[in-house]
Amino acid sequence: MSSLPLASSFLQSESFIYVLYIVAFSMFIQGLRGLAGPTTAVRGNRIAAVGMAIAVIATLLYPSEGNWGLIALGMAIGTAVGVPAARNVKMTAMPQMVALFNGVGGGAVALISWVEFRHHGSTYGSKTHEASYAIVHELGTGLAHVTVTQPALPTYVAIFSVFAAIIGSVSFWGSNIAFGKLQEIIPGRPISFGSAQQAVNLVLLVLAVAAGVDLIAGANSELLFIGMLILAALLGNAVVLPIGGADMPVVISMLNAFTGLSAAATGIALNNPALIVAGMIVGASGSILTNLMATAMNRSIPAIVAGGFGGGGAVEGASGAGEHEGTVRSTSAADAAIQLAYANRVVVVPGYGMAVAQAQHAVRELTKELEKRGVEVSYAIHPVAGRMPGHMNVLLAEADVPYDQLKEMDDANPEFQRTDVSLVIGANDVTNPAAKNTPSSPIYGMPILEVSDSRSVIVIKRSMNPGFAGIENELYFDPKTSMLFGDAKSAVSEITAELAQI
């Protein structure tokens, strides 16, 4: 490397690399600002992506870089897995895809910390191993071949590295569980140790931190490090498994913020400003986003982490189910078509059922047909309908539903009173009047779409099974509600077909 011409030594100089980093994280910030607004979002995402490309190129310019074959191998594997996964994932499976991508990020952090430990762990907590130290700290300065006599690896490097390892491992496993739950590989209902859950979590956390402290203090044992990663992995499982599926978006967002924080910690350990800035921005914005989402569902983050809809909630829900011995009225596609055809105003309330059946195009056909007949149609979108905020908007936009027909909850609710028919397609918990009327319900206090205010309600649903939160919906027992059982897509298509014959 020493015989390189002047130009390339400029390109490889620390200052030039830092300038590129500064360009990169300016683009991240600009990109995020763009992502926060509907008209600028597409461009914002692309700006951030270009920023990332610049940061990667800048890093590869470090004179200390080597093992090009392995770098190419790793990036090729990542691209070969990531691109098709992102390209082919269905819009309905988007949330779990985000969880998965978040998880691998956390996994990368944990692995990086592990290698750091393998490389420098012997200097943790000591002041004597100068030679090993010389390698780590020059990473940031790009002077790897100059031997400087400096004190041993500073303790803070070990602290941040161990912190990153724990959080990264929690994030990796937690995200995988979240993926499993949303993908329905693992049951969506809370799985827990019951009342011992809190104690178990606490013990796992304490043990992981204790192992970390021991490592920082100089316990030069790789076995202990692996033990710490495993404890953090168990903690990730133990925290996410008891959380009910309905809270999963909030959990993914929280784990996203965690991964950001762990990336920032890795940045401090490696003395790399790009990692610090990008990681911390994600950590901070992710926390805000988590809070916004939790607020939209009227859930507090501590309550979610403490066991979600688990424990008392699920039990109450189950006993509540028995109390409803009211009758459920089921209807046919033909009847539903007549009801809709003679309505003046119809509000469509989409939910996860629509997403999973890919019924958005069928729904669009139906509403076109209704509009031809002069029926005023709008869509009421609950902030957390589906499994992610904005999930329904994405799907309906895909089906070319005009944007101005999509009403957010606050705008939609006052209008239900002058609505003739509310057509609920696969939405459940977000319409449950129990959230308003039944203080003992686990979802009590959650803002809902007040469909029961409308003159009549048609609910398209596959069965009487309770929804994601695992609680019974009083709406179905309301005398003005009729149920149309079936797959959302075929049910909607049948209604459209019947409508054409009227």
Partner: protein
Amino acid sequence: MILGSVLTTNLAILVLAGFIGFVVISKVPNTLHTPLMSGTNAIHGIVLLGGLLLLGLPLLGAFSKVLLVIAVAFGTINVVGGFLVTDRMLEMFKSKPKPKGEDDDGADGGAPK
């Protein structure tokens, strides 16, 4: 550079970046929560750089190399997949204004009939 100043400089960067993160996201419509989460998710794929830096180290053992190749692969999945998925989500938003303007009039009013 004195070590203390490396740490304090980095901590200053950390804190300022945190404030930027708070400010940028303080007000976002619900609709954009998912794409935004996905976008920030892609950005923390920056950990890829950590993997790249460590792979450049001399004297890596074979097992460390294996771990790092996995880390680089993970980081790449996070970055590439994250940005692509976000772009796909947002494509849907982008196509939104088109049908309004040029497509069938049935979409908007249905009044002509």
